[in-house]
Subunit: 277 residues, 2 copies
Amino acid sequence: VPYRSVVARLEVATAVRPAGAGRYEAVLDGQWRIGTKPNGGYLLAVLARAAVEAAGPEHPHPAAVSAHYLAAPEAGPAVVEVEMLRRGRSAAQLRATLLAGGARCVDALVTCGQLPPTGGPPYWTGVVPPDLPAEEACLPVPADDPRFPVPLFGEVAARLDPASAGFAVGRPAGKGEIRGWVRVAPAPPDPYALLVAVDCLPPATFDLGLAGSWVPTLELTAYLRALPAPGPLRVRQRARLVANGRVDEECDVWDSAGALVATGHQLAAVRLPSGED
Amino acid sequence: VPYRSVVARLEVATAVRPAGAGRYEAVLDGQWRIGTKPNGGYLLAVLARAAVEAAGPEHPHPAAVSAHYLAAPEAGPAVVEVEMLRRGRSAAQLRATLLAGGARCVDALVTCGQLPPTGGPPYWTGVVPPDLPAEEACLPVPADDPRFPVPLFGEVAARLDPASAGFAVGRPAGKGEIRGWVRVAPAPPDPYALLVAVDCLPPATFDLGLAGSWVPTLELTAYLRALPAPGPLRVRQRARLVANGRVDEECDVWDSAGALVATGHQLAAVRLPSGED
């Protein structure tokens, strides 16, 4: 299947329509929700899509995206306002703001450029990909858990390494790590799928016995390093420090060619057992 | 010495003066340069200082700062333009832009709030601080290397673990890691010192035999987790992936009480040997 021969559901769900003077109209798709609110990585993809549209064909991909989350929008119509900050030869830097329901919801800074194709060993890496059981031996994350429906998992096929999925049966491993295979919509992954991938696994804090509530993202930064090969993404999300009601997580994404194609870092709020910090 | 009894040189060098309507005037101090340009962490501290001024006393500290670097300013007069995005109960979110020499130089998003004091073990952490030799057994980084003067190291006392300083004598360890003790100016560390600390060590790529050139930062995000205890900071900078002319680095900072008080992530440009990616 050629790389762009399928019109991906993510492509439709993140489509933006120019509406004059740096304004883009979007429709936030209810399928990409966690609980009642659109997923943070999905919102990042919408913002990046508008920034890339404004950057023009010389800078066709998002390369670094930093977002601060102000308010969680509802699904439905939204506007992205984009401002060009600097248009250079190898990169364009832009600001993008998501407005919905009359409120400012997400502010982002986006550096756009040309991502290289995946392939070949990197010059150097210190990040070792996790060994995972075969995709079919991993556990699918349900979209319709009655305690907490996550429609997102109807669009994103996430299958967890059973060794990091113990939280689902009350036996977290205590390592602060969730890992597994991810396929975003039916199409091969692209940079926007990578932006979803860095924020779609259950929070790494679930593996620490803190599975009671989702963790709302305060800040999320993604670095995209290459255009991913077709096939499933290998994703590992790790907690780094849980303290004072906040957790920072790092998320690494490898493509089917074994290349580290994206990394996300986020700071999120987390409810800790009373009396603990 | 009480926590704020010394007027720190960093405090003076990052001072901002309100100039009406979200405008703050600053003077970029030539002492805080790497080579000929002000250090990226120092610029982050100037931006955060202006954001905190605008946020007001209920949100007295920077907690998450994300910056995209557009152009390197010269030392001298500068302006920071600040826009309040959302003022909430537990956090204020702002945008800050650094302008100097008629150019837009750095754009940042800043989440401000009240940082907790350091102390006590965290709820959980997966990040193990490095063992370091005693500060006096570590190697001071010179400010006046004739091949590449770094005035910054006249303000920041950085002493490297000899095991990660081999690059200085042509024998890098090849681990992509630089670690050591850092003291910022003569005063106890504060959140602004932490913003400098996450971007002041020599690039981790020096430890990979790429010591020929400094690496210009494209994006830098810092999470501040607690007000640091007085005393030296323990800092570890690690390369994660070096590929296609870019490196992402993570930098962790512990205070003298052993708490992980700050983490930085950056994407930077790096010149690789010709033919390599």
